[in-house]
């Protein structure tokens, strides 16, 4: 059953349809959130928040739109907020910054360095790299998400790749 059909049934009160919507999309939403935040804890929260917002807006959701791109955009927007806001540490409400071992733990080979280099990029460039290469968003979609011209996305992406090449070459020389 398509997402559009599931949405229609969910609007009619079908909890089975809602469950199916969750099952089809949770993993994609979570991975997009992780790609941006680099933290499992933050991805857990962001993805849950995205689904909570989906429920809030379900009644007004346009049945002709695809659900997955929409909810992924909701999650990515929230994840960007999390990364940008760098909320003050507080015992009751805290977005943990990714610990070094969390990043390293993902990688199984020499690309540890590449992953680390991505995370060291300035945030505007890092966001574009992870959204494009890790969350599989097009340059056009990224422009819409970040509210910047497509040309700006492309130029930032180009600069980010240049920075990464320089960083990787430097590390290669040092090793």
């Amino acid at each position: 059953m398509s997402d559009i059909e599931l949405i229609a049934q969910a609007k009619s009160g079908s909890t089975e349809a809602l469950g199916a919507l969750f099952d089809k999309n949770w993993r994609h939403v979570w991975r997009a959130a992780y790609a941006v935040t680099g933290s499992c804890d933050a991805a857990d929260d962001v993805a849950q928040d995205a689904f909570a917002r989906a429920i809030e807006r379900l009644d007004s959701f346009d049945d002709t739109r695809s659900f997955r791109p929409w909810i992924v955009r909701v999650a990515v927007n929230r994840a960007i907020d999390v990364v940008r806001q760098k909320r003050p540490r507080a015992q009751w409400y805290e977005w943990r910054q990714p610990a070094a071992d969390e990043s390293v733990g993902l990688i199984l080979d020499a690309d540890v360095a590449l992953s680390a280099a991505v995370r060291c990029l300035p945030i505007d460039r890092r966001l574009i790299v992870v959204l494009h290469y890790w969350a599989d968003l097009s340059v056009r979609d990224i422009g819409t998400l970040l509210n910047i011209p497509v040309g700006t996305v492309a130029s930032r992406l180009g600069r980010a790749l240049r920075d990464l090449r320089v960083e990787m070459e430097a590390q290669h020389v040092e090793s």
């Binding site: 991975r31 857990d44 790749l161």
Partner: protein
């Protein structure tokens, strides 16, 4: 595609997967939240008109003044037992400053616990707990901490509230996370979520953040069921209606 871009794509394919327990918990909470949203007709609280809400607020505030008479640093109110019997309270900290106007009003069938506002320091925030089951003795002894023992034993029809009250106004950035709301708070403003250390993440829980009366309220509403019924939500809302706090503004 350059070698660098290929490597970046490979990194993307290696992103971790969400943990199974997180997924299970998120699904349960999503379903619980969905039920609350899609079936408002069975939640009497949600159908109240504005004048009724105001009347209810006034009643709650009036009752809050009565509660102050209980007084205690840790006030445990148990309103179980006799039908018309008044709520009782017992002190667990001798000489504590009387200040019980922060927390849940006593209600038959519910246990409630409040540290009172007097404990407020730079290192400690007041808390309140309420449950439609007996609060676990260890949780009672720990007072201000999250009632995880009760949470763990919560049965399918169980409801448990844990509320932390932070003073509003210390930081605009923090306050921004706590949208200003009126009392009584509304359960449907909550989002699926819990706190670190939750021993039963497979059971449903909602997180409700609100700014009211000069406080930032961080509330966890926990259910014993993975997918609570509309009746349980309605019951939780009735308890939420009984949350009171002194005005710091």
């Amino acid at each position: 595609m350059s070698n660098l871009e290929e490597r970046l794509r490979r990194e993307g394919a290696r992103l971790p997967e969400p943990r199974e327990d997180v997924t299970t918990n998120a699904r349960a909470q999503f379903m619980a939240s969905a039920q609350a949203h899609l079936q408002p007709a069975v939640q009497p609280r949600l159908t109240l008109r504005a004048p009724e809400r105001r009347a209810r607020t006034l009643a709650a505030l009036a009752a809050a003044m009565a509660v102050a008479a209980f007084g205690a640093g840790y006030a445990v109110a148990s309103a179980r037992g006799e039908d018309a019997g008044p709520a009782t309270s017992r002190d667990t900290e001798a000489g504590a400053v009387a200040d019980a106007g922060l927390g849940f009003l006593p209600r038959r069938g519910w246990d409630s616990l409040s540290t009172g506002a007097a404990v407020l320091t730079s290192n400690q925030a007041p808390t309140a707990v309420a449950a439609n089951v007996r609060l676990d003795e260890q949780d009672l002894a720990r007072g201000a901490e999250a009632p995880w023992e009760t949470r763990e034993m919560l049965t399918a029809d169980g409801i448990l509230f844990y509320v932390i009250f932070y003073p509003r106004g210390d930081s605009d950035q923090v306050d921004a996370n706590f949208r200003e709301r009126e009392l009584p708070l509304d359960l449907t403003d909550g989002h699926p979520g819990s706190l670190e250390g939750d021993p039963a993440p497979e059971k449903a829980s909602l997180r409700l953040l609100a700014g009211a009366h000069g406080w930032n309220v961080d509330m966890l509403i926990m259910f014993g069921a993975a997918e609570p019924t509309p009746e349980l939500f309605a019951e939780a809302q009735r308890q939420l209606d009984r949350l009171v706090m002194p005005n710091r503004e």
